[in-house]
């Protein structure tokens, strides 16, 4: 359980930092970089979420199909 809480905090942290990076870059007139940074942050978060979801599906499979 503590690991899951940590992951939530990690994703929140990534979100905050990427949002700040976006604001800083946008303020200085580098909008194209800002968009790239946001996109890359999004992809990283997506990766983390997909890994966890994969774990969940495997568990469900294990429960209902008696595989492990």
């Amino acid at each position: 359980m503590p690991k899951d809480i940590n992951i939530i905090f990690q994703i929140a942290g990534i979100g905050i930092v990427v949002a700040m990076l976006h604001t800083v870059l946008k303020q200085m007139g580098k909008e194209e970089y800002a968009h790239w940074v946001t996109l890359i942050g999004f992809i990283i978060v997506l990766f983390i979420v997909i890994t966890i979801l994969d774990d969940l599906f495997h568990k469900i499979k294990g429960v209902f199909l008696f595989q492990s």
Binding site: N6, Q10, G13, I14, V17, V18, M20, L21, V24, L25, Q27, M28, G29, K30, G41, I44
Partner: protein
């Protein structure tokens, strides 16, 4: 141990950001000093009738480190070598550019100015110095603009980038 590593990463990236932002600030300062130096050179040539190597030695005492090194080397090369003025100028420029924060345009202006140095009489030389000063003026405005825009950004970027890496690795 984990916290120590995180702290190390953040400190390093912040330091890198500060270093990058320092380059912008240094460029403005160095361009201003270069202008002062050229104005002094003009005064020495037009009103003081000083030989070039002595004038450059005087100038190197007037300004601060990275640029003073350039004028010092130039005057040394002039006084104890058998190169032409523009060769000596270019050589000392090549040697000192890695220590300066100037970009390609600034160096190009200096190179072109060096090619005219010692080729003409006093009045033409004054005109050439005026032209170089004019170009440097434009570059300085440019550098100030870039400094205002990017100096703060680089600092923030360093800190935030470090924070992002730490969160990702945590």
């Amino acid at each position: 141990m984990k916290w120590f590593g995180a702290l190390l990463i953040i400190i390093t990236s912040t330091w890198a950001g500060f270093n990058l932002s320092k380059r912008y600030r240094e460029r403005t300062i160095q361009l201003r000093q270069l202008k002062v130096a050229l104005q002094a050179l003009e005064a020495e040539i037009v009103y003081g009738f000083t030989p070039l190597s002595e004038a450059c030695k005087k100038i190197s005492c007037m300004i601060s480190y990275p640029l003073s090194e350039f004028f010092k080397r130039f005057s040394e090369k002039l006084s104890n070598g058998n190169r032409s003025v523009s060769e000596a100028w270019n050589e000392s420029l090549q040697e000192t550019v890695p220590h300066l924060c100037l970009n390609g345009n600034d160096v190009e202006i200096l190179t072109q100015f060096g090619a005219t140095l010692g080729m003409h009489d006093r009045e033409h030389q004054q005109k050439q110095i005026r032209i170089a000063l004019h170009h440097l003026e434009r570059e300085e405005t440019d550098a100030k603009d870039a400094q205002i825009r990017y100096e703060k950004m680089m600092r923030n970027l360093g800190l935030l980038g470090g924070l992002l890496i730490v969160i990702l690795l945590f």
